[in-house]
């Protein structure tokens, strides 16, 4: 088990990057997904079409292709430098944002229309109704799905190893390449993921229990 002395520090270093990319990615993804999800169910046609196209492109292409595109193609097109971590965060934001927008749309639509009518009958504006009557219960409805999306995102970041983001999977690959201990590297790596994800699932269950 001596290989752990080298591998574990590498995995924890990877975990930091994985969490950095996942948390910032889901943060921007939530902002993006809220705007797009609101547009998906809103009255503005242009916004609705734009949001639909965005969701369509992301759902219609593999994450790995999106990662390669953002890292290798976008910097050339825009004539700029993009670090692999920055590219990773952008990809995760765009990708999770598309899935979150469906979560947001569903949650907004599942709030009883009576809430809307009650607000209208009290003389509130559409904006006040959205902000004070629709969004708070919608957020509650979407919280479990959002956390689920976060768990998916943490696993999705593994794909960023192809654009040399040094997250957990990349560190596993690095160790395997250096030591030739393939079995040890990938087995430990898989268990490492399992532990991290299990911890997140336990947190998720607690959140859900509190919401009921």
């Amino acid at each position: 088990m001596e290989f752990l002395n080298v591998l574990l520090p590498m995995l924890f270093r990877g975990l930091k990057v994985t969490l950095l990319v996942s948390v910032t990615g889901i943060f921007f993804g939530f902002i993006l997904g809220s705007i797009s999800g609101y547009a998906l169910q809103g009255k503005n046609r242009i916004a609705r079409v734009a949001a639909n196209v965005y969701v369509w492109i992301i759902r219609g292409t593999p994450l790995i292709v999106q990662a390669l595109y953002v890292y290798y193609v976008v910097p050339v097109l825009l004539d700029m430098n993009l670090s692999s971590v920055a590219a990773g965060i952008i990809v995760i934001s765009l990708n999770s944002g598309a899935f979150i927008s469906e979560i947001v749309r569903g949650a907004l639509q599942s709030v009883d229309f009576g809430q809307n009518e009650a607000g209208m009958s009290l003389g509130l504006t559409d904006r006040q109704i959205m902000l004070h009557l629709i969004m708070p219960p919608a957020f509650r409805i979407m919280l479990p799905s959002l956390f689920n999306q976060f768990i998916i995102t943490v696993k999705d970041t593994a794909i960023l190893s192809v654009i040399v983001v040094n997250e957990i999977t990349k560190e596993i690959q690095n160790y395997a390449a250096l030591s030739f201990k393939t079995i040890e590297a990938y087995t430990t790596g898989a268990i490492f993921y399992l532990v991290i994800i299990s911890a997140l699932i336990i947190i998720q269950k607690n959140i859900e229990r509190k919401l009921v």
Partner: protein, 242 residues
């Protein structure tokens, strides 16, 4: 105060209201009765524009609400509404349910609104429930909170859309008592209801609707004891003798 002229409303090909004409004077209590699907609720919702009528006029203090320039939001501040399913705000306390609209619309400060909300809660007999959430209340209590919420905007008139239809029978009385006390204070009200004894006792005028039209209207004595129309008679004989 409220005048409706030749109002019509369709849902797709289905005509739900045809050629409705009626007036409500200030201080009047009008009860609308009739079989399910007769358009009573739709008619009520056309008054405060929760449904857009397809034709006719709705005048509030002489102003036609169907004109593009009409300020529907202002109108709704003055025409309160109480729903069959209460539509309380589930994540807000009883007190917050009541203070939300007066504060958001800038009518009152938070403190003023809270004071008034407590006064209104006392009036509907739920003072001790100020800090609780709607899910902890019975249906009858919810509806009384909903009435207090509507009253907090100091409306000139109140619309009630089957306020007791979703309640257990033993809870209906408390809600009707509150509505009755409002009638005694001179509040203008239009009440869509299946509670015939309530309509008989409280209404100044009863309107019987069927098939999307007003079949007959008159004071409660006329309607309940000597209805002129056959359809009214048939309806009343069914609901009064079950």
């Amino acid at each position: 105060m409220i005048q409706v002229r030749n109002l019509s409303k369709k849902f797709g090909n289905l005509t739900v209201l045809k050629d409705i004409t009626m007036n409500v004077d200030e201080g009047e209590v009008v009860c609308i009765i009739g079989p399910s699907g007769s358009g009573k609720s739709t008619f009520l919702r056309c008054i405060n524009q929760l449904e857009k009528p397809d034709g006719g006029e709705v005048l509030y203090n002489g102003r036609n609400l169907l004109e593009k320039t009409a300020d529907i939001r202002m109108l709704r501040e003055e025409l309160g509404m109480v729903f069959q399913n209460f539509n309380l705000f589930p994540l807000k306390t009883v007190l917050e349910n009541i203070t939300l609209a007066p504060v958001l619309t800038g009518k009152e400060s938070g403190e003023e609104a809270s004071k008034k909300a407590m006064r209104l809660l006392r009036k509907v007999g739920l003072e001790e429930k100020a800090g609780t959430y709607p899910k902890e209340l019975s249906g009858g209590q919810k509806q009384r909170v909903a009435i207090a919420r509507a009253l907090a905007m100091e409306p000139k008139a109140l619309l009630f859309d089957e306020p007791t239809s979703a309640l257990d029978p033993e809870l209906v009385g408390d809600v009707l008592e509150v509505i009755k006390s409002l009638a005694e204070e001179g509040m203008t009200m239009i009440v869509v209801t299946h509670e015939m004894s309530f309509a008989r006792e409280v209404a100044d005028r009863v309107i019987f609707m069927a098939g999307g039209a007003i079949v007959e209207e008159g004071n409660p004595g006329e309607i309940f004891t000597s209805p002129k129309e056959e359809r009214t008679r048939v309806f009343l004989s069914r609901v009064l003798h079950v």
